[in-house]
Amino acid sequence: MPKIKFAVIVFPGSNCDHDAYHTAKHVLGHDTEFVWHKESSLKGADVVILPGGFSYGDYLRTGAIAQFSPVMKAVSAFAASGGPVLGICNGFQVLCEARLLPGALIRNKDLKFHCEHVRVRVEQTDTPFTLRAAKGQVLRIPIAHGEGNYFADPQTLEELEASRRVVLRYCDNDGQVTDRSNPNGSINGIAGICNEERNIVGLMPHPERACEATLGSEDGLVFFASVVACLASHGALTA
Protein backbone atom coordinates (compact mmCIF):
# COMPACT_ATOMS: atom_id res chain seq x y z
CA MET A 1 0.00 0.00 0.00
CA PRO A 2 1.38 3.44 -0.86
CA LYS A 3 2.37 5.61 2.07
CA ILE A 4 0.45 8.83 2.25
CA LYS A 5 1.20 11.58 4.72
CA PHE A 6 -1.79 13.14 6.44
CA ALA A 7 -1.65 16.44 8.31
CA VAL A 8 -4.33 17.12 10.92
CA ILE A 9 -4.52 20.80 11.79
CA VAL A 10 -4.99 21.55 15.47
CA PHE A 11 -6.62 24.81 16.46
CA PRO A 12 -7.16 25.78 20.08
CA GLY A 13 -10.53 24.17 20.71
CA SER A 14 -10.30 21.44 18.07
CA ASN A 15 -11.64 18.25 19.65
CA CYS A 16 -11.95 15.78 16.79
CA ASP A 17 -8.28 16.06 15.85
CA HIS A 18 -7.41 12.81 17.63
CA ASP A 19 -10.28 10.99 15.92
CA ALA A 20 -8.98 12.06 12.51
CA TYR A 21 -5.41 11.21 13.52
CA HIS A 22 -6.47 7.80 14.80
CA THR A 23 -8.30 6.99 11.60
CA ALA A 24 -5.48 8.04 9.28
CA LYS A 25 -2.68 6.61 11.41
CA HIS A 26 -4.06 3.52 13.08
CA VAL A 27 -7.05 2.44 11.03
CA LEU A 28 -5.49 3.16 7.63
CA GLY A 29 -1.83 2.92 8.64
CA HIS A 30 -0.53 6.09 7.03
CA ASP A 31 1.99 8.62 8.29
CA THR A 32 0.03 11.27 10.14
CA GLU A 33 1.10 14.38 11.97
CA PHE A 34 -0.65 16.97 14.03
CA VAL A 35 0.10 20.50 12.83
CA TRP A 36 -0.40 23.19 15.46
CA HIS A 37 -2.23 26.23 14.14
CA LYS A 38 0.79 28.50 14.74
CA GLU A 39 2.96 26.48 12.35
CA SER A 40 3.67 27.91 8.94
CA SER A 41 4.48 24.59 7.29
CA LEU A 42 2.38 21.49 6.67
CA LYS A 43 5.41 19.22 7.19
CA GLY A 44 5.31 17.80 3.67
CA ALA A 45 1.77 16.46 3.95
CA ASP A 46 -0.03 14.99 0.94
CA VAL A 47 -3.47 15.59 2.37
CA VAL A 48 -4.71 18.07 4.95
CA ILE A 49 -7.61 17.57 7.36
CA LEU A 50 -9.23 20.43 9.24
CA PRO A 51 -10.93 18.59 12.10
CA GLY A 52 -14.11 19.19 14.01
CA GLY A 53 -14.41 20.96 17.32
CA PHE A 54 -14.94 24.44 18.62
CA SER A 55 -11.95 26.42 17.44
CA TYR A 56 -11.53 29.53 19.58
CA GLY A 57 -14.64 28.54 21.50
CA ASP A 58 -16.80 29.47 18.51
CA TYR A 59 -16.22 33.10 19.51
CA LEU A 60 -17.67 35.68 17.10
CA ARG A 61 -18.84 33.04 14.58
CA THR A 62 -17.95 29.38 14.15
CA GLY A 63 -14.58 29.21 12.40
CA ALA A 64 -14.28 32.99 12.23
CA ILE A 65 -11.11 33.40 14.28
CA ALA A 66 -9.41 30.22 13.10
CA GLN A 67 -9.32 31.55 9.55
CA PHE A 68 -6.62 34.00 10.71
CA SER A 69 -4.38 31.34 12.25
CA PRO A 70 -0.89 31.34 10.69
CA VAL A 71 -1.27 27.78 9.40
CA MET A 72 -4.19 28.83 7.20
CA LYS A 73 -1.78 30.58 4.83
CA ALA A 74 -0.04 27.26 4.30
CA VAL A 75 -3.39 25.48 3.92
CA SER A 76 -4.51 28.03 1.30
CA ALA A 77 -1.26 27.67 -0.63
CA PHE A 78 -1.48 23.87 -0.43
CA ALA A 79 -5.06 23.98 -1.71
CA ALA A 80 -4.16 26.45 -4.46
CA SER A 81 -1.53 24.02 -5.70
CA GLY A 82 -4.20 21.32 -5.98
CA GLY A 83 -3.57 19.52 -2.69
CA PRO A 84 -6.57 17.68 -1.24
CA VAL A 85 -8.10 19.40 1.80
CA LEU A 86 -10.96 17.97 3.87
CA GLY A 87 -12.81 20.14 6.37
CA ILE A 88 -14.99 18.21 8.80
CA CYS A 89 -17.68 20.02 10.80
CA ASN A 90 -15.81 22.93 12.39
CA GLY A 91 -13.20 22.43 9.66
CA PHE A 92 -15.96 23.03 7.10
CA GLN A 93 -16.98 26.16 8.98
CA VAL A 94 -13.36 27.39 8.95
CA LEU A 95 -13.08 26.76 5.19
CA CYS A 96 -16.25 28.80 4.58
CA GLU A 97 -15.06 31.65 6.80
CA ALA A 98 -11.71 31.60 4.98
CA ARG A 99 -13.62 31.83 1.66
CA LEU A 100 -11.98 28.64 0.48
CA LEU A 101 -15.53 27.33 0.12
CA PRO A 102 -18.64 29.43 -0.62
CA GLY A 103 -21.57 30.01 1.72
CA ALA A 104 -21.80 29.81 5.49
CA LEU A 105 -22.95 27.46 8.24
CA ILE A 106 -25.52 29.08 10.49
CA ARG A 107 -27.51 28.06 13.55
CA ASN A 108 -29.58 24.90 13.15
CA LYS A 109 -33.14 25.75 12.22
CA ASP A 110 -34.54 24.19 15.40
CA LEU A 111 -31.78 25.74 17.57
CA LYS A 112 -30.85 22.29 18.88
CA PHE A 113 -27.43 20.68 18.91
CA HIS A 114 -27.83 17.48 16.88
CA CYS A 115 -25.67 14.53 17.87
CA GLU A 116 -26.89 11.46 16.01
CA HIS A 117 -26.25 9.13 13.11
CA VAL A 118 -27.77 10.42 9.88
CA ARG A 119 -27.93 9.19 6.31
CA VAL A 120 -26.20 11.12 3.59
CA ARG A 121 -26.29 10.50 -0.14
CA VAL A 122 -23.11 10.77 -2.17
CA GLU A 123 -23.90 13.18 -4.99
CA GLN A 124 -20.52 13.50 -6.66
CA THR A 125 -17.67 11.04 -6.99
CA ASP A 126 -15.19 13.21 -8.88
CA THR A 127 -13.57 14.68 -5.77
CA PRO A 128 -10.46 13.25 -4.09
CA PHE A 129 -12.55 12.27 -1.06
CA THR A 130 -15.45 10.52 -2.78
CA LEU A 131 -14.00 8.83 -5.84
CA ARG A 132 -14.23 5.39 -4.22
CA ALA A 133 -17.91 5.91 -3.39
CA ALA A 134 -20.76 5.18 -5.77
CA LYS A 135 -22.96 7.98 -6.99
CA GLY A 136 -26.20 7.83 -5.04
CA GLN A 137 -24.65 5.65 -2.32
CA VAL A 138 -26.26 6.16 1.08
CA LEU A 139 -23.82 6.41 3.99
CA ARG A 140 -24.60 6.23 7.69
CA ILE A 141 -22.39 8.77 9.46
CA PRO A 142 -22.79 10.78 12.67
CA ILE A 143 -23.30 14.49 12.91
CA ALA A 144 -22.61 16.60 16.00
CA HIS A 145 -23.24 20.29 15.53
CA GLY A 146 -25.33 23.26 16.55
CA GLU A 147 -24.42 25.32 13.52
CA GLY A 148 -24.60 23.14 10.45
CA ASN A 149 -27.37 24.85 8.59
CA TYR A 150 -25.78 25.50 5.21
CA PHE A 151 -26.69 28.83 3.66
CA ALA A 152 -25.75 30.42 0.36
CA ASP A 153 -27.42 33.20 -1.59
CA PRO A 154 -29.59 32.07 -4.54
CA GLN A 155 -26.95 32.87 -7.14
CA THR A 156 -24.20 30.96 -5.32
CA LEU A 157 -26.56 28.06 -4.77
CA GLU A 158 -27.41 27.95 -8.45
CA GLU A 159 -23.71 27.94 -9.33
CA LEU A 160 -23.04 25.16 -6.83
CA GLU A 161 -25.79 22.98 -8.25
CA ALA A 162 -24.99 23.76 -11.89
CA SER A 163 -21.32 22.93 -11.43
CA ARG A 164 -22.15 19.73 -9.46
CA ARG A 165 -20.40 20.89 -6.34
CA VAL A 166 -22.87 19.56 -3.79
CA VAL A 167 -20.99 16.45 -2.66
CA LEU A 168 -23.33 15.15 0.07
CA ARG A 169 -27.00 15.62 0.91
CA TYR A 170 -28.93 14.51 3.98
CA CYS A 171 -31.38 11.79 3.00
CA ASP A 172 -33.60 9.05 4.40
CA ASN A 173 -32.84 5.32 4.45
CA ASP A 174 -33.88 5.04 0.82
CA GLY A 175 -31.71 7.89 -0.34
CA GLN A 176 -34.58 10.34 -0.71
CA VAL A 177 -33.82 13.94 0.23
CA THR A 178 -36.76 15.14 2.29
CA ASP A 179 -37.46 17.87 4.83
CA ARG A 180 -37.73 15.18 7.46
CA SER A 181 -34.29 13.79 6.69
CA ASN A 182 -32.74 17.25 6.93
CA PRO A 183 -31.49 17.65 10.52
CA ASN A 184 -30.57 21.31 10.51
CA GLY A 185 -32.44 23.24 7.83
CA SER A 186 -29.60 23.26 5.30
CA ILE A 187 -30.65 24.70 1.99
CA ASN A 188 -31.27 21.91 -0.60
CA GLY A 189 -30.35 19.39 2.10
CA ILE A 190 -26.67 20.18 1.63
CA ALA A 191 -24.31 18.27 3.94
CA GLY A 192 -21.10 18.79 2.00
CA ILE A 193 -19.69 20.77 -0.91
CA CYS A 194 -16.46 21.23 -2.84
CA ASN A 195 -14.68 24.16 -4.45
CA GLU A 196 -14.58 24.84 -8.17
CA GLU A 197 -11.35 22.88 -8.60
CA ARG A 198 -12.92 20.08 -6.53
CA ASN A 199 -9.85 19.47 -4.33
CA ILE A 200 -11.30 21.19 -1.24
CA VAL A 201 -14.21 19.37 0.35
CA GLY A 202 -16.17 20.46 3.41
CA LEU A 203 -18.74 18.33 5.22
CA MET A 204 -20.74 18.60 8.41
CA PRO A 205 -20.96 14.83 9.09
CA HIS A 206 -18.00 13.15 10.79
CA PRO A 207 -16.61 10.31 8.63
CA GLU A 208 -13.69 9.87 11.05
CA ARG A 209 -16.16 8.73 13.69
CA ALA A 210 -17.50 6.00 11.43
CA CYS A 211 -14.42 4.05 10.38
CA GLU A 212 -14.52 1.02 12.65
CA ALA A 213 -17.23 -1.58 13.18
CA THR A 214 -16.97 -1.07 16.92
CA LEU A 215 -18.12 2.52 16.42
CA GLY A 216 -21.32 1.36 14.77
CA SER A 217 -20.44 2.22 11.18
CA GLU A 218 -17.53 1.96 8.78
CA ASP A 219 -19.18 4.07 6.12
CA GLY A 220 -16.77 6.97 6.75
CA LEU A 221 -13.80 4.96 5.53
CA VAL A 222 -14.65 5.71 1.92
CA PHE A 223 -13.54 9.34 2.32
CA PHE A 224 -10.10 8.29 3.52
CA ALA A 225 -9.77 5.38 1.09
CA SER A 226 -10.71 7.72 -1.74
CA VAL A 227 -8.00 10.27 -1.05
CA VAL A 228 -5.41 7.51 -0.67
CA ALA A 229 -6.46 6.05 -4.03
CA CYS A 230 -6.47 9.52 -5.58
CA LEU A 231 -2.96 10.32 -4.42
CA ALA A 232 -1.67 6.90 -5.39
CA SER A 233 -2.99 7.29 -8.92
CA HIS A 234 -1.49 10.76 -9.28
CA GLY A 235 1.86 9.67 -7.92
CA ALA A 236 1.80 12.61 -5.53
CA LEU A 237 3.34 10.64 -2.71
CA THR A 238 5.81 11.65 -0.08
CA ALA A 239 9.26 10.51 -1.15
Binding site: L60, R61, A64, A104, I106, L111, G185
Partner: protein, 79 residues
Protein backbone atom coordinates in the same frame (compact mmCIF):
# COMPACT_ATOMS: atom_id res chain seq x y z
CA UNK B 1 -12.81 57.89 19.07
CA UNK B 2 -15.49 55.38 19.88
CA UNK B 3 -17.09 53.36 17.14
CA UNK B 4 -20.13 51.18 17.59
CA UNK B 5 -20.71 48.38 15.12
CA UNK B 6 -24.11 46.70 14.84
CA UNK B 7 -24.04 43.39 12.98
CA UNK B 8 -27.31 41.78 11.90
CA UNK B 9 -28.29 38.86 9.73
CA UNK B 10 -29.35 39.88 6.24
CA UNK B 11 -33.13 39.93 5.76
CA UNK B 12 -32.86 36.91 3.45
CA UNK B 13 -31.26 34.78 6.19
CA UNK B 14 -33.63 33.02 8.56
CA UNK B 15 -32.91 33.87 12.22
CA UNK B 16 -34.13 30.97 14.38
CA UNK B 17 -33.03 32.72 17.58
CA UNK B 18 -35.00 35.84 16.71
CA UNK B 19 -38.03 33.69 15.89
CA UNK B 20 -37.79 31.87 19.22
CA UNK B 21 -37.51 35.15 21.14
CA UNK B 22 -40.52 36.47 19.23
CA UNK B 23 -42.56 33.41 20.16
CA UNK B 24 -41.54 33.82 23.80
CA UNK B 25 -42.63 37.45 23.71
CA UNK B 26 -45.99 36.47 22.27
CA UNK B 27 -46.45 33.92 25.02
CA UNK B 28 -45.77 36.71 27.52
CA UNK B 29 -48.59 38.72 26.02
CA UNK B 30 -46.62 41.07 23.76
CA UNK B 31 -48.82 40.30 20.79
CA UNK B 32 -47.87 43.52 19.04
CA UNK B 33 -44.14 42.75 18.90
CA UNK B 34 -43.09 41.07 15.67
CA UNK B 35 -40.18 40.37 13.33
CA UNK B 36 -37.58 40.04 16.10
CA UNK B 37 -34.03 39.77 14.75
CA UNK B 38 -31.03 39.04 16.95
CA UNK B 39 -27.68 40.65 16.19
CA UNK B 40 -24.30 41.53 17.64
CA UNK B 41 -22.99 44.81 19.00
CA UNK B 42 -19.33 45.82 19.22
CA UNK B 43 -17.67 48.85 20.82
CA UNK B 44 -14.28 49.81 19.42
CA UNK B 45 -11.93 52.44 20.83
CA UNK B 46 -10.08 53.72 17.75
CA UNK B 47 -7.00 55.89 17.69
CA UNK B 48 -7.91 58.18 14.80
CA UNK B 49 -7.73 61.94 14.22
CA UNK B 50 -11.12 62.34 12.60
CA UNK B 51 -14.50 60.65 12.71
CA UNK B 52 -14.20 59.83 9.03
CA UNK B 53 -10.90 58.04 9.61
CA UNK B 54 -12.36 56.15 12.57
CA UNK B 55 -15.34 55.14 10.47
CA UNK B 56 -13.03 53.94 7.71
CA UNK B 57 -11.07 51.77 10.14
CA UNK B 58 -14.24 50.42 11.77
CA UNK B 59 -15.65 49.60 8.36
CA UNK B 60 -12.50 47.73 7.38
CA UNK B 61 -12.58 45.78 10.66
CA UNK B 62 -16.25 44.94 10.15
CA UNK B 63 -15.65 43.76 6.58
CA UNK B 64 -12.72 41.56 7.51
CA UNK B 65 -13.67 40.22 10.91
CA UNK B 66 -16.80 41.37 12.73
CA UNK B 67 -19.31 40.51 10.02
CA UNK B 68 -19.50 37.67 7.52
CA UNK B 69 -20.77 39.33 4.32
CA UNK B 70 -22.30 36.04 3.17
CA UNK B 71 -24.94 36.21 5.90
CA UNK B 72 -24.59 39.52 7.72
CA UNK B 73 -24.67 43.27 7.17
CA UNK B 74 -23.54 46.00 9.55
CA UNK B 75 -24.06 49.60 10.55
CA UNK B 76 -21.50 51.88 12.19
CA UNK B 77 -21.85 54.85 14.56
CA UNK B 78 -18.85 57.01 15.49
CA UNK B 79 -18.60 59.59 18.24
Amino acid sequence: MKARVFVTLKPSVFDPQGRTIEEALHSLGYAGVGDVRQGKYFELEIDAATADKAREIASSVADKVLANPVIESYRIEVE
